[in-house]
């Protein structure tokens, strides 16, 4: 066994006797492509909804809720899947997200979330991660489907048109500031102001985007 390995080591490290340099380069290139392809396929797989809802934490909670919303069925027949909102389409972002996702696999292995109650208990924390991410990238995933440029506010309800004109088109706010909970149930929203809160700046200053404001029982008495 040892002898076999030693022989291979000599062959592998010594100069090539049988193959031309060209062949080796080409071979390297081909296997590189194959490896890259496999890597890409693996990524593509993990980028599908079927993969996401393979885990009960995702299937029994967020996926169930998604099915009741406009992003699952609507008159336009466009369906938003998990990766549409949660994994950036850009390559670089993709890898970064995948690295972060390995942490979830850890959570799954060690079972941080077993029941609906446990999920609800963690939900505020998880939601905050997503809010911060979408805030930081100016709601990139939403804009992949909903371009502000293509938004014809004359065809929106007056209620929506008014507020988009005042806050969205002036660049003061981004989609996620106002449209939380469009795909899943919201966690306890105590202290999370709506995007049109007149005290927004003060609230934002208090805790990086998630500040004072609407408690579950209404007036926080500011």
């Amino acid at each position: 066994m040892i002898g076999f390995l030693k022989r291979w080591w000599r062959v592998a490290t010594g100069p090539s006797k049988f193959f031309s340099l060209g062949f080796l380069t080409l071979g390297g290139f081909v296997s590189g492509v194959l490896f890259w392809g496999a890597f890409n396929t693996a990524l593509e797989f993990t980028n599908r909804e079927a993969f996401c809802i393979g885990c009960h934490e995702m299937r029994d909670n967020v996926y169930q809720e998604l099915q009741d919303t406009i992003h699952f069925t609507n008159r336009s027949g466009v369906r938003a899947t998990c990766p549409d909102c949660h994994v950036p389409h850009e390559w670089t972002h993709k890898i970064a997200r995948k690295m972060q996702a390995s942490k979830e696999v850890w959570g799954w292995l060690f079972g941080t979330i077993d029941t609906r109650q446990e999920f609800q208990a963690m939900r505020r924390t998880l939601a905050e991660h997503e809010w911060h991410r979408l805030k930081a990238n100016d709601s990139l995933e939403c804009r992949n489907c909903h371009g502000a440029d293509s938004m014809d506010i004359t065809r929106q309800s007056p209620r929506a048109a008014r507020i988009h004109e005042r806050f969205l088109f002036t660049g003061e706010r981004t989609c996620i500031d106002c449209h939380k909970g469009i795909a899943h149930e919201l966690p306890n929203m105590e202290g999370v102001p709506p995007g049109w809160d007149p005290q927004w700046d003060r609230a934002a200053a208090l805790s990086s985007g998630v500040g004072q404001g609407q408690g579950p029982m209404g007036d926080s008495g500011d």
């Binding site: 919201l186 306890n188 709506p194 579950p216 029982m217 209404g218 007036d219």
Partner: protein, 153 residues
């Protein structure tokens, strides 16, 4: 004897009428157990135009979409617009002071628990054709008719 006959007739006649033809059903298929496809859901009237109230105490109807609006222990979507501190920014009417009162008329710092579940009292309107005509008249119509009657005399 005559009285007895009359009484018997009075009791029998409605029964005969009933047997002749079942009273017409207001809703659902007739005869009853037949299966018919459900009619399509009528669309909400979500034109953002506030409706006249029929009497001052009426909970106004909702003139906008409330599809998927979450109201539970965690959050109340309605209050993100109708609570005092947010009403101006979205140009929504603030919930009136009665929503801040408990049943003894005491004013509270926040929305009263008995007014928390908004859709108990406030509902959107749809384009559905009413099954039964609504002949409600508000107080002004009635007073107007009375006044005309008096003037006419």
């Amino acid at each position: 004897m005559k009285a007895w006959l009359l009484l018997a007739a009075a009791l029998l006649l409605p029964c005969l009428a009933l047997a002749a033809g079942e009273s017409p059903r207001l809703v659902g298929p007739s005869p009853m157990p037949a299966e018919v496809p459900a009619p399509p859901l009528p669309a909400d009237r979500a034109d953002d135009v506030r409706r006249t109230r029929n009497y001052p105490d009426q909970p106004p109807v909702i003139p906008h979409s409330i599809t998927d609006y979450q109201i539970d222990l965690n959050t109340n979507r309605c209050l993100t617009c109708h609570a005092r501190q947010y009403a101006e920014a979205v140009q929504a009417p603030m919930i009136s002071v009665t929503h801040y009162q408990d049943r003894d008329g005491q004013f509270l710092g926040g929305v009263s628990a008995r007014r928390y579940f908004c859709t108990q009292c406030h509902v959107p309107q749809t384009d559905a054709r009413p099954l039964v005509d609504n002949r409600f008249e508000d107080i002004d119509t009635i007073l107007e008719r009375l006044r005309r009657g008096r003037d006419g005399q």
